[in-house]
């Protein structure tokens, strides 16, 4: 009986640990949202992915606030406000993931993840 105790304990510990991790990931992972979902959500690490509307990019140098509009996959638009310095490669980016929360109908971004088509590969012609 005692011979099997080691593997048994291991199994129980492993199963418990794995379920705990799955629960942690389920509750803790930051969701990708559409603009519609973002407006209904209270999370503060929402990931909003969309296309940057280039003509709306504004950079206020006094307050170092970057604002631009984003169009999501449903075609909805929202104003994104980002404080802090611009991501280095914003000018060449077309898509962006803004991380943050909804405030007064605007998306307050604390982090901008910029997708550049040329990061590892030049765009295929």
């Amino acid at each position: 009986m005692s011979m099997k105790l080691g593997p048994l304990i291991s199994g129980v510990v492993a199963a418990t640990a794995l379920s705990a991790v799955v629960i942690a990931f389920t509750t803790g992972a930051s969701p990708y949202v559409t603009i519609q979902q973002a407006k209904a959500s209270t999370g503060d690490r929402l990931h909003l992915a969309g296309d940057i509307v280039k003509s709306t990019v504004q950079n206020d140098v006094y307050t170092q606030t970057l604002t631009f509009q984003v169009i999501d996959s449903n075609g909805d638009r929202i104003k994104v406000k980002h404080k802090g310095e611009k991501p280095a490669n914003l000018s060449e980016a077309t898509k962006v993931v803004a991380v943050g929360k909804i405030e007064n109908g605007e998306f307050q971004s604390s982090e901008l993840i910029v997708k550049c088509p040329s990061k590892y590969e030049a765009e295929k012609k």
């Binding site: 005692s2 969701p31 949202v33 590892y120």
Partner: protein, 790 residues
């Protein structure tokens, strides 16, 4: 337009030389040659069970096939070095003006090349190990040949030897004089050394998979352990070095001040490392006690399978939104091969394990009776469990976007803080085991006896943790300045940072002291085991460096202009000058003076240069790191801001409008009367900024080269520039520029980053030491089991 039919429109463009076309052809044909020989070799190995004569031909065919995989690599290298831009891949990633090292690295900067690198590394290890595969050769060769064939199949579709569209004109191949060049952000010495290192590690993973399958097929769970032990140690060392190099690369060039971001591409290499470490410890137990033969068979296959899975996940586009490494979409057929290959391997391997692992282990390996309670074997069991679980957890974490998407919605991402919260639960027991287990005997021992053995090490570690914090106590960046800092805890609240760091530091010291202690002890009596403990020491030093440099990091953003210093952390930062031949010089730097409160100064010189891509002018910046043994000051520069507004603003005559706290009143349009060259158009404006109200008249002048705007100062802060004037309405586009560019900086203070470098070195040396110590001596029979008390 004038058009002369008799004249060749491409007369001035050089033609590609014949040799280059031959080389390109040779490269793509060699892939098929390799594929043919490897498939043949696989079949011959397979039938060699019934037809023993076939084995010799199978091996010859294997060697020819494996060597053939290096031919496309050599061809591609030659095309890069000789600037053959008629090839699309060379055109996209090479440039005639770059240094030789970047021409070489061009080979593996993109998708096709990295698969080629993987295939080459795999065939290298195939060539190195096939001769020593002894009684497993038939199956080992079959599996290895199959895997290499699949890689060749992918390469056949992901070919880097396609000519650019439109270069073939009237039967001749034109040669563009220059290529696009490697993406500037990759141009750094790490791109030359990191990919070959880590792919060498990835290539070696095939060895263990092929041996595990062979052991199952040949019903011999015993000898494969001896065959692959030295390779497993070397692989772990190389993979670890590759991983660390990746972290150091990110740190030195990316500008976010860290080593590890839990990016899927990073995780894909970490998971096999963790699983290899698990396998190595399983091998030790099987070697000494004859136990766990079945689980070792399973563990043997997992590192390779996890890598193939990760490769599929990152290349398939499933994680597109998540990773900073955006790869171009893969060729459909190649992706299909990769997917089919992955499913076949995983399903086949699992089935084989379920069918045979238990019985094969039982029949061939005779276990020594297990020990209960505290024994080395039980410590290893828990250690290996934690390691492999950690691998599994990270694999689940990197797959989470896909898993979450399956549950509906657009998916979700596991971020750094969540990884940290989860990983710490595995990290704590792992480190406790690494600290204590080396003092546990193989025979069962009481808790008291164990405590007696580790008491010295334990108290020494506690003492050293105390000294670490005393050492880091004062100064603006010391422990005291972090007194209020907290970290998120897994239950949803926060914990004070310093006690958490204290615990983590203790764990690192515990492992480091144990590692050093055992290494010194064993240097006298059992040299073979020294390398392992040196690796443990290196691991503890590396992790300690990562924890301290991230946990006690301080950072601050700042905007510096020439003549107006700003403060960042405790430094006063002033812009000094731009250095370099010109702004397009890759070695150009922006020089900033950093002055600390004591008045001591140093110059920070982050890189800054411009390059043209198509019509656009782009900026490349590199962070600056001032290293010292105790801390790094890390200065990330962002592209200098010259435009006040991102887009020019349009004003109509008489319009008055405030944009971003700057008020512009367009009083009236002006012109100097003349027409043609020399004519000037302007706009009288009243501009109010933070510093005052200014009446200005920005102008445009018609010159022979077109219409040129003239820079008009607005006070001492801005220039006004007219972009365009509408002939009918006289509306103008106005652009405001800084007279002195604004340099956005982010300054990090990171203590003890030196440990990351030192730890990497110790870890690698330790791993290579043990691989060397366990190398197979030239004897006919495998080494006997040696149950030695170490």
């Amino acid at each position: 337009m004038e058009h002369n039919h008799n004249e060749d429109p491409f007369a001035n463009i050089p033609r590609a030389e014949a040799w280059s076309l031959v080389v390109g052809q040779a490269g793509s044909i060699a892939v098929y040659v390799a594929l043919a020989f490897l498939v043949l070799s696989g079949i011959l190995y397979l039938i060699s069970g019934k037809v023993p004569k076939a084995e010799k031909f199978a091996t010859i065919s294997f060697v020819i096939g494996s060597i053939s995989i290096f031919v496309p690599f050599g061809c591609l290298l030659a095309l890069f070095i000789k600037d053959q831009f008629q090839y699309e891949y060379v055109f996209s990633h090479g440039d005639s003006l770059t240094e030789l090292k970047y021409k070489i690295a061009g080979v593996w900067t993109a998708q096709e090349g990295s698969f080629l690198l993987w295939a080459c590394a795999t065939s290298l290890f195939g060539l190195l190990t096939i001769g020593g595969s002894g009684l497993y050769r038939r199956t080992y060769g079959t599996v290895f040949a199959l895997i290499l064939s699949a890689l060749c199949g992918i390469l056949a579709y992901e070919s880097p030897f396609d000519l650019l569209k439109d270069v073939v004109q009237k039967g001749e191949v034109l040669m563009p004089p220059r290529g696009n060049g490697m993406t500037p952000s990759l141009q750094n010495y790490w791109v030359v050394i990191h990919p070959p290192t880590i792919f060498l590690g990835f290539g070696a993973l095939t060895i263990f998979f092929a041996y595990a399958v062979a052991a199952l097929v040949h019903k011999n769970a015993k000898d494969w352990i001896t065959y692959c032990r030295p390779w497993s140690l070397a692989t772990l060392a190389i993979l670890g070095l590759g991983l660390s190099m990746g972290g150091l690369w990110a740190y030195e060039t990316q500008g976010w001040g860290g080593f590890w971001a839990w990016d899927p591409v990073e995780n894909v290499s970490l998971v096999p490392w963790l699983l290899m470490a698990t396998l190595i410890h399983g091998i030790i137990v099987q070697n000494v006690r004859g136990r766990w033969a079945a689980s070792n068979l399973i563990m043997g296959g997992l590192p390779f399978l996890s890598f193939v899975y990760g490769t599929f996940l990152t290349r398939s586009g499933l994680l597109d939104k998540v990773s900073v490494h955006s790869f171009a979409s893969m060729d459909r057929n190649a992706l299909g091969i990769l997917r089919g290959f992955l499913i076949f391997l995983v399903v086949g391997f699992i089935a084989l394990c379920i069918w045979r692992a238990k019985s094969v282990a039982k029949e061939t390996v005779k276990p020594i009776d297990p020990e209960n309670g505290i024994s080395r074997e039980n410590s290893y069991r828990f250690g290996m469990m934690v390691l492999s679980m950690l691998g599994l957890v990270i694999a689940v974490g990197m797959s989470w976007p896909v898993i979450a998407a399956l549950r509906g919605g657009q998916g979700a991402r596991v971020e750094e803080w969540l990884y940290h919260q989860v990983v710490v639960w595995f990290f704590i027991p792992l480190m406790l085991l690494m600290g204590a287990a080396p003092f546990v005997s193989w025979r069962e021992m009481g808790a008291k006896a164990l405590f007696g053995r580790i008491a010295n090490v334990l108290s020494l570690s506690i003492g050293l943790t105390g000294f670490t914090f005393i050492g880091l106590m004062d100064g603006p960046f010391g422990v005291r300045s972090h007194a209020e800092s907290t970290v998120r805890n897994p239950m949803g609240g926060t914990w004070p940072l310093i006690p958490v760091l204290g615990l983590l530091m203790f764990l690192c010291w515990f492992v480091a002291v144990t590692g050093a202690w055992r290494a010194i002890e064993l240097a006298k009596k059992w040299k073979m085991s020294v390398g392992g403990f040196v690796s443990h020491l290196g691991f503890a030093v590396l992790i300690g460096g990562l924890i301290l440099s991230r946990g006690m990091e301080k950072k601050q953003q700042s905007f510096v202009q020439s003549g107006s210093p700003a403060s960042a952390l405790d430094y006063v930062v002033s812009f000094k000058k731009l250095e370099g031949k010109d702004l397009f010089d890759r070695d150009s730097k922006a020089v900033f003076e950093f002055k600390d409160p004591a008045g001591r100064t140093f110059d920070a010189t982050p890189g800054l240069y411009y390059y043209e891509q198509g019509e656009e002018l782009k900026t490349q910046v590199w962070p600056f790191v001032k290293s010292s043994p105790t801390h790094d000051v890390y200065v990330a520069l962002f592209p200098p801001v010259t435009d006040v507004w991102d887009m020019p603003k349009t004003f109509k005559p008489k319009e008055k409008r405030t944009v971003d706290q700057i008020t512009v009143e367009y009083l009236e349009p002006t012109s100097n009367g003349t027409t043609g060259v020399g004519a000037k158009f302007g706009a009288k404006m009243r501009i109010t900024t933070r510093t005052g109200t200014f009446d200005v008249e920005p102008q445009m002048q018609v010159t022979e080269g077109g219409i040129q705007p003239l820079l008009t100062p607005v006070g001492t802060e801005f220039f006004a520039v007219l972009g365009r004037m509408d002939a009918a309405t006289r509306a103008v586009d106005l652009k405001l520029m800084f007279q002195k560019p604004l340099y956005p900086l982010e300054v990090f203070y990171k203590p003890m980053t030196s440990l990351v470098w030192i730890g990497t070195g110790i870890l690698t040396i330790g791993g290579l030491m043990s691989a060397f110590a366990r190398r197979r001596r030239h004897s006919k029979a495998p080494a006997p089991l040696s149950p030695v008390e170490v």
